[in-house]
């Protein structure tokens, strides 16, 4: 196909169009995804004088901000580290059970594992809060007449507030379970039979055959879980009590106009997140990465004892993994939801303990405070944001996925796209407002449009990743070549072969980004202006101590996410 352009030169339309496509994709990726992600870095450098003055040499408080930042960072890292360790302890057995065992109700267990990813975190945080600290929760069931634990109860030894740990573990373990499980499913179970026939017990087989091969999956899951814990805002803000994590600090400081310390903290978080994800990406993508790891148990000469121990547990304690996994899911996922449902019924017309109707759900929703109206408005905002940002993300995501598959030099984009996934969302929100808002380019004021732009940043990577996963999962390339050999143009191929095959992956990505958008709190708080979304509204209700209203809103959000989960399941089956 040739065409003559204005200057009389012949150009190839096809190659012109594909260049245009490539350029447009790269530009939109750059503007919508990478620019906001990395803007904070350049902002910090450009405004270094001010940052330095505010953080390290404030005339009034000296380096107080720096001391705070250090403390907060260490605190957040301790939480993320412990949460991830617990995730691993639960995620490995649970992932193994889901990948290798068949039992009735397996589908339900899988849904329960996915639920924390779908549920708006603030609603979930609130559910956890009342489950553990109020008479409506476990304490009430046990007849204690009070909550089981205090809001600020700190777990001894690890010195981490109990509630923060619980919500972080619950909100992050699905990453470890899901990724580990899908890695296990790729592994031929016959390797395990081969290993056992050579005399290895079930546990030894797991340690020496299954685990090393699934390790890259575990790594990716752990990194995502770690990052998610660092960036978690919605649930944390509700259960934090007197504590401040990094992402809460950013939200707070931004709202108090302390831009310099907030952006410096965000800058550090982005650096840390990228320096964590990129080496892991590199390690995982390298060939024989696992085989190059040293065998610790042999070096320490404990292999013999370990083998004996594994033999014993393979014989006698094989049921422990099931019991532990199911108890965990029961307490951390199912129980809070049941407590919220139960409470919303109890509090429906009046406070069950004082009998006052001001303490009932109905009064708070329709009384003077009229939370119902706010809720409806917030729902509208949330749905618009989720729909528009998902739509745009899908468009950019499809183009990006195709670009990554077509052009070798675009492979690096895939790794880079992991960075927005691990940047704490409150940091992202800060970056957005500094970039587009009145203090930056001045193009967009805080409000619904800025929320949409923000949600696009973390939605695009999700869509791209699931599209690529389904592209690589089926032999698309073979079919593409077949179509080309039958005379289809590259555009015909994309339309008639590639897209239909990766459609499911795109759907999965779209649903994930839709639910993520509905539930996002950290970034939304910063960029929403007056357009509150449902998940931020729950936080506002809790802060205004409108507990019955928060109960209702949480129930409503949980119901919404259950519906989405149902859709998600229909599509991913």
């Amino acid at each position: 196909m040739q065409m003559v352009n204005f200057f009389g030169k012949k150009i190839d339309v096809r190659s012109f169009l594909s260049k245009l496509f490539l350029t447009a994709t790269l530009i939109s990726l750059g503007v919508f995804v990478f620019l906001p992600t990395f803007y904070l870095i350049s902002f910090t450098f450009l405004g270094w004088d001010e940052v330095y003055r505010e953080v390290f040499a404030n005339p009034l408080i000296g380096d107080e901000h720096w001391q705070q930042i250090k403390g907060i960072l260490i605190f957040s890292f301790r939480i993320a580290l412990i949460a991830v360790l617990i995730d691993i302890l639960i995620g490995i057995p649970l992932g193994y059970i889901l990948a290798r065992k068949n039992f009735r109700g397996k589908g339900v267990v899988e849904d329960l594992v996915t639920l924390p990813l779908v549920i708006p975190t603030s609603a979930f945080g609130f559910a956890t809060l009342i489950t553990w600290t109020t008479i409506a929760g476990i304490g009430g069931f046990l007849g204690l007449g009070r909550g089981l634990v205090e809001l600020n109860y700190v777990v001894p030894i690890i010195k981490i507030p109990f509630l923060i740990l619980i919500v972080h573990v619950t909100l992050t373990f699905p990453y470890v379970v899901r990724i580990f499980k899908s890695k296990l499913e790729e592994l031929n179970p016959e390797f395990e039979i081969a290993s056992r026939s050579l005399g290895a017990s079930v546990f030894t087989t797991f340690r020496s055959i299954v685990f090393p091969q699934a390790l890259p999956g575990l790594f990716s899951g752990v990194v995502l879980a770690f990052a998610r814990s660092l960036g978690e805002t919605g649930a944390t803000i509700i259960v934090a009590g007197v504590n401040t994590t990094a992402s809460i600090a950013i939200v707070k400081w931004e709202l108090e106009f302390k831009i310099a310390p907030a952006s410096f903290l965000g800058f550090l978080l982005i650096l840390i997140a990228s320096s964590m994800i990129l080496p892991v990406e590199y390690f995982v993508s390298r060939e024989r990465s696992i085989s190059s790891l040293p065998n610790l148990t042999e070096i320490l000469r404990i292999e013999k004892y370990l083998l004996k121990f594994e033999k014993t547990i393979s014989r006698k304690l094989y049921w422990v993994k099931e019991v532990v996994s199911f108890i965990f899911i029961g307490i951390c996922v199912i129980l809070p939801i049941l407590v919220v449902l139960n409470s919303v019924i109890l509090y429906w017309s009046a406070d069950p303990y004082t009998g006052k109707i001001e303490g009932g759900v109905i009064y708070q929703l329709f009384g003077p405070a009229n939370y119902f109206k706010s809720l409806i408005r917030a729902t509208a905002v949330s749905l618009i944001v989720a729909a528009v940002s998902t739509y745009i993300s899908v468009c950019i995501g499809i183009a990006t996925a195709i670009t990554i598959e077509k052009y070798r030099f675009c492979r690096a984009i895939r790794s880079l796209l992991k960075v927005p996934l691990v940047v704490p969302t409150s940091t992202l929100g800060l970056s957005m407002i500094l970039l587009w808002g009145p203090k930056g380019l001045g193009l967009i004021n805080p409000g619904i449009w800025l929320i949409i732009l923000t949600h696009i940043v973390f939605s695009v990577p999700v869509v791209v990743e699931s599209a690529l996963a389904s592209y690589e999962g089926s032999d698309v390339e073979v079919y593409e070549e077949a179509a080309r050999s039958l005379g289809a143009t590259p555009y015909d191929v994309a339309e008639t072969v590639t897209l239909p095959i990766i459609k499911r992956g795109i759907f999965t990505g779209a649903i994930l980004s839709f639910t993520h958008s509905l539930g996002e709190t950290g970034a939304t708080f910063i960029v929403m202006g007056r357009d509150a979304t449902v998940s931020t509204l729950v936080v506002n209700m809790v802060e205004a101590l409108a507990i019955p209203a928060a109960l209702f809103a949480s129930t409503y959000l949980i119901a919404l996410s259950l519906i989405l989960l149902f859709v998600f399941r229909k599509i991913s089956k």
């Binding site: 031929n188 016959e190 390797f191 039979i193 081969a194 290993s195 056992r196 026939s197 050579l198 005399g199 290895a200 017990s201 079930v202 030894t204 087989t205 020496s208 055959i209 090393p212 091969q213 024989r288 696992i290 085989s291 042999e298 292999e303 013999k304 083998l307 004996k308």
Partner: protein, 368 residues
């Protein structure tokens, strides 16, 4: 010591619809190279998996060395398995793969290295021990997996189509290697295959399997020359079948009339007159000549209609005067042309008789 005994083993899949093992009784002697041979899907692998402990039988008992092992888990059955899809651990190199069984037994690194070295020299493996499985050819991979099985120092080998995934030259080579090793190590081997030539060339004894049932057990020669069932006769090597009726039976054999009123005399005994039978003869026992030779018995005239070279031998398809087509095998020095008139002789001592199957000959010959 590892003699294996299966008693009344049954296994069904798919809510009982698929019968993979149907009341199987089998005894395998210590030190024997035993092969289970049968068409695809007949339940060979299932039987092997039951011995290995991978699949639990619905009924029946498995004894190894006289001990009932139904409830013993795989890892404690002391078996060594070799698989069709090889299954070398991809994240371990050759040395680590071979040393895996000693390692999980808790044997220290130094002794392990010795064991590996010994096996490598025994197998004459000329591989880099630091190579990873995906850097080796399929044949080399299967050799390593054999080495890995040997390193477990057990004396019962279970081999599930170990050669099927290899190309034909390597397959032939490894076939003899397998038998040599098993005999050298003095172990018992149970080998599953659907390749009758492979089974014939390496086994001490073969069990023929069909539809989850053991049809017949015997040494390759017994099964080849004196099959007790039409299925065995058909499945092992090539065989010509003709339907017929016994018209005369005496102590020295009987006479069978096949289609077209042609009569064939056999040495088969114990048949009674007017019995419907299936007459069978292997291609290599049919003698062809262009002239009538007084010494030949059961001579029938026919014409060459097709021929196939196999190198040193030639198969001729002959259409006999009664319309029946038979396959014959002769040395390559005797050359006939298509359409040549020929006299085919069926020596009575090689003509075998079977009772006519209830469900008809066609059905009996089908491999499903």
């Amino acid at each position: 010591m590892p003699d294996v005994k299966l008693v009344n083993i049954s296994k069904r899949y798919g809510k009982g619809r698929i019968i993979a093992a149907d009341k199987v009784n089998l005894e395998i002697k210590d030190g024997e190279y035993f092969t289970i041979l049968g068409p695809s899907g007949c339940g060979k692998s299932t039987l092997l998996k039951i011995i290995a402990g991978i699949v639990k039988p619905d009924e029946g008992e498995v004894y190894v060395g006289g001990k009932l092992i139904n409830d013993v888990p795989i890892e404690e059955r002391h078996i060594a398995m070799v698989f069709q899809n090889i299954l070398l651990f991809p994240h371990m190199n050759v040395e680590e793969n071979i040393g895996y069984a000693p390692r999980v037994k808790g044997i220290e690194r130094e002794r392990r290295a010795k064991i590996v070295e010994e096996i490598v020299s025994m197998l004459k493996l000329t591989l880099r021990s630091t190579a990873f499985p995906d850097e080796l050819s399929r044949g080399a991979q299967q050799k390593v997996s054999l080495a890995r099985a040997i390193a477990s120092e057990t004396n019962l080998f279970l081999l599930d189509e170990p050669l099927s995934a290899l190309d034909s030259r390597v397959r032939l080579e490894l076939r003899y290697e397998l038998r040599r090793l098993v005999k050298e190590l003095g172990v018992t081997a149970i080998h599953v295959t659907h390749d009758q030539e492979e089974a014939m060339s390496i086994s001490d004894r073969i069990a023929i399997m069909k539809h989850g049932k053991i049809i017949e057990v015997g040494s390759p020669v017994e099964l080849y020359l004196g099959p007790q069932t039409i299925f065995t006769a058909h499945f092992l090597g090539k065989m010509n079948f003709m339907e017929g009726v016994v018209i005369e039976s005496s102590g020295g054999g009987c006479v069978v009339e096949v289609s077209g009123g042609v009569r064939i005399r056999t040495k088969a005994k114990g048949r009674f007159a007017r019995e419907r039978v299936v007459l069978a003869i292997r291609p290599e026992f049919i003698k062809l000549s262009q002239t009538i030779n007084e010494n030949n018995k059961n001579v029938i005239e026919g014409r060459i209609i097709e021929k196939f070279y196999t190198g040193s031998y030639i198969y001729y398809k002959v259409k006999l005067e009664n319309g029946i087509e038979v396959l014959t095998l002769t040395e390559a020095e005797k050359m006939y042309k298509d359409g040549d008139k020929i006299y085919a002789s069926f020596p009575p001592e090689y003509v075998i008789l079977f009772k006519y199957p209830e469900e008809g000959l066609e059905k009996e010959l089908s491999l499903e």
